[in-house]
């Protein structure tokens, strides 16, 4: 996907406008507006079942929207003519359950998509993959199989796997929710480094302290709507919406 | 993915089977041409009662064999989990032997190795009819499989059940009888029914040994009707249909049980 001719890097890299999503008669998203600038780190917080995961999955087209517009670099995502491959190259996603390919080694997991999908040169891909694995502190685990690793290690492989496609935007869907407490820290550290490198990140998370520390902007969602958004300091210390106040009083 | 499950399409399969049947008989009738002999279908109608009569013997053999297999299989299964080696090892060997041999081979073995008559202690001799021998032959593989199913079911009961029964001073037999077996029965129902269905489907093999069951009668009927080639398709299709009509509901019910056990509790 080449960026739309009209798009310039000073415009939002991700823009959602009035996004609605229904599963059958159940409306999960009831009109979401959200914009993310290049290099920004955005966290989406809110109670379970508020549609956060659905929201983030619309951005790389895994979940089609019912109504509204989702644009990445000025290109409409939910458009029949869209080149899905190009979109997915631009937008990486990391899941709660890691979803590594259990029949491939760590290194193969990371290399598979660039080799098979982008048909890149094997040597270059391997060099990049090894570098990424070192970056996520998994040097020496290249030939292990996913099931031999801890949850935190698997999740870092998943991050490296997405990064190997050299995306412009990374989506993180509750990536620490399934982890043992002692491995949460290593994954958060990896994401923090990524953010520091200037990667555009959109995270759905329950880690409030982390959200506060890392985000440029925090969105609070409830029942399919964005109730409130703002810089972390103001949203966490001085929430305006009663639902935000109630939620934060429970989790903080 | 599950939306494509076969089991949801239940009524369509028999409909198709019936359609196939009609098409094949129609083809057979078309071959018949304008000759004066009764058509293949008319011949089939004449012989239907005879074939169905044979089918009754298939049912009798299947029920008897299943009864024998269940009783002996459960005993053999318990022997397999006996703490005593002398009991356990032969039970395992018998189970292994009859699970891994073809039905036909077991059937032959029984047919040739059991004498056709036995002498009672009083001096009278009793003939053993072939269909009784065949019944025993069909019971053996099912027995071995029931033995294995029982062993598996008992192994799947958590060890806490054994321990708590032991702590209540139950003997081993009592534990098996009152604690373990009742919990196994539910689990064993679907495979037990599967084996009944399979056993019934194997009973026509008795025809090889000259038992006058459905297949034997079908072949005899075709012979009697002049051994015309155009009879083959309608007669065999009819035979398959009888079995299908009997077995299919059992399969459906078994599958329903399996699903209920898989999802429920």
């Amino acid at each position: 996907m080449t960026p739309s001719e009209n798009w310039t890097p000073d415009q939002p890299i991700v823009a959602l406008r009035d996004v609605h999503k229904s599963f059958g008669t159940f409306e999960v998203l009831k009109g979401i507006d959200l914009t993310v600038m290049k290099g920004e780190v955005v966290c989406i917080i809110g109670p379970s079942g508020s549609g956060k995961s659905t929201l983030i999955r619309t951005i790389n087209g895994l979940t089609p929207v019912t109504r509204g517009s989702v644009q990445v670099e000025g290109q409409e995502v939910h458009d029949g003519n869209l080149d899905k491959l190009a979109l997915r190259r631009k937008v990486g996603i990391v899941f709660q359950q890691y979803n590594l390919f259990p029949h491939r080694t760590v290194l193969q997991n990371v290399m598979m998509a660039p080799l098979l999908v982008l048909r890149e040169n094997r040597k270059e891909v391997e060099a990049r993959a090894r570098e990424l694995l070192a970056k996520v502190q998994l040097h020496g685990k290249e030939n292990a199989y996913p099931a031999e690793l801890s949850g935190g290690q698997q999740q870092r492989v998943a991050i490296a796997r997405s990064l190997c496609m050299r995306p412009d935007v990374m989506l993180f869907d509750e990536v620490t929710a399934a982890l043992d407490p002692e491995t949460v820290g290593e994954v958060l550290l990896t994401i923090k480094q990524l953010a520091a490198d200037g990667m555009t990140c959109i995270l759905v998370t329950h880690e409030m302290g982390f959200a506060r520390e890392i985000s440029d902007r925090v969105y609070f969602t409830d029942a399919g709507r964005i109730c409130e958004s703002g810089p972390p300091a103001s949203l966490f210390d001085n929430p305006q919406d009663p639902r935000t106040q109630e939620f934060l009083s429970k989790v903080l | 993915m599950t939306a494509y499950s076969v089991t949801r399409l239940t009524w369509r399969a028999p409909a198709l089977a019936a359609g196939l049947c009609v098409a094949a008989t129609a083809a057979a009738m078309a071959q018949q041409g304008g000759e004066a002999r009764p058509s293949a279908v008319a011949t089939l109608v004449i012989w239907m009662p005879f074939i169905l009569e044979g089918f009754v013997l298939n049912l009798v053999m299947s029920v008897l064999a299943m009864a024998i297999a269940t009783v002996t299989g459960v005993i053999l299964g318990f022997m397999q989990i006996s703490p005593s080696r002398i009991v356990r090892v032969p039970a395992k060997l018998i189970t292994h032997l009859f699970r891994n041999s073809p039905w036909l081979v077991i059937l032959f073995a029984i047919m040739f190795l059991i004498p056709f008559q036995i002498r009672l202690p009083g001096g009278d001799t009793v003939m053993i009819p072939d269909w009784v021998k065949a019944t025993i032959g069909f019971a053996l593989p099912v027995m071995a499989n029931i033995s294995e199913i029982l062993r598996g079911a008992v192994a799947s009961i958590p060890s806490g059940q054994w321990e708590s029964a032991e702590s209540l001073a139950f003997t081993r037999i009592q534990t098996l009888r009152y604690v373990i077996l009742p919990q196994c029965i539910r689990r064993m129902m679907p495979p037990w029914m599967n084996w009944y269905a399979l056993l019934t489907l194997m009973t026509p093999m008795a025809a090889i040994l000259g038992v006058n069951e459905a297949l034997g009668n079908t072949q005899a009927a075709m012979e009697a009707a002049g051994a015309r080639p155009e009879l083959l398709i309608p007669f065999y299709l009819f035979l398959m249909t009888i079995f299908f009509v009997f077995i299919y509901p059992i399969s459906l019910y078994t599958r329903r049980l399996e699903r209920r056990f898989a999802t429920g509790s």
């Binding site: 979803n99 996913p146 | 073809p102 398959m240």
Partner: protein, 248 residues
């Protein structure tokens, strides 16, 4: 080979009356070898046919066209709920009667012989089980895993080839082993249409020599060994394909 063991088995026959004729009589020896060879060939062909049908059927079951799915469902139900021996006779005699004959230069031979019909009939019978086995294997692949591939830009075809298929095959191996063993045993049904496999050739030997118990022993041994070999081979395959740390 026969020369080596013949004296021993001849003496065994003379002293105990145990008549293992294939082990000293060269004609029976050749019948035994031929029977084993045909049996192994038959089983291999049947398993191959059933696997191909299984994969095609499992694929067809996911078809968007309803009639295709109905046909697969009907096929499975018909072949799993009717006696395999009648299926075999139906194919061999019923369909065999209407297949064209081939001119062999003076005499005519059916296009498909008894071996061919046994492979077709028992292969189709076994395939009806394999369809279900492969389908459940494919269903056992978590959607989350295929979704991860999708989000990395894999096309549907690549997802199927690189993710779904290798995982599904591993998941269905135990069930597949059972079915292959069961097919190996069912192949003995070919006896009824006079395919000269092991049961048929041994029955020839025992009617000539009246040594049923000895030949029965041989037959049971053959199957025990055969099943053990198949089970061993499949276990090796399973171990080779096992994913370290997975599913424990």
């Amino acid at each position: 080979m026969l020369d080596l063991i013949a004296p021993y088995f001849e003496r065994l026959y003379d002293t105990t009356g145990l008549n293992f004729s294939p082990f000293y009589d060269s004609y029976d020896w050749s019948r035994l070898l031929e029977g084993m060879l045909v049996s192994v060939k038959l089983i291999a062909a049947i398993v191959a046919v059933s696997l191909v049908i299984g994969v095609i059927g499992a694929g067809a079951q996911t078809s968007r066209l309803r009639p295709v799915r109905w046909c697969v469902a009907a096929y499975i139900e018909i072949f799993r709920n009717t006696p395999p021996i009648v299926q075999l006779l139906f194919f061999y005699f019923g369909l065999g009667a209407i297949t064209p004959q081939v001119d062999m230069g003076g005499w005519y031979e059916p296009m498909i012989g008894s071996f061919g019909w046994a492979v077709i009939a028992i292969g189709i019978f076994g395939g009806s089980y394999n369809v279900e086995i492969f389908r459940s294997g494919v269903e056992a692949v978590p959607t989350a895993t295929t979704e991860a591939a999708e989000s990395l830009g894999f096309s549907n075809f690549k997802i199927f080839v690189y993710i779904t298929l290798p995982l599904a095959f591993r998941f269905c191996l135990p069930a597949l082993t059972n079915n292959i063993v069961s097919l190996a045993k069912t192949a003995s049904l070919a006896y009824v249409i006079a395919v000269p496999e092991i049961t048929y050739s041994l029955s020839g030997i025992w009617s000539d020599n009246v040594n049923v118990p000895e030949m029965m022993l041989l037959l049971f041994t053959y199957y025990i060994v055969l099943v053990a070999i198949i089970a061993k081979a499949m276990a090796l395959l399973e171990r080779k394909l096992a994913l370290p740390g997975y599913g424990q």
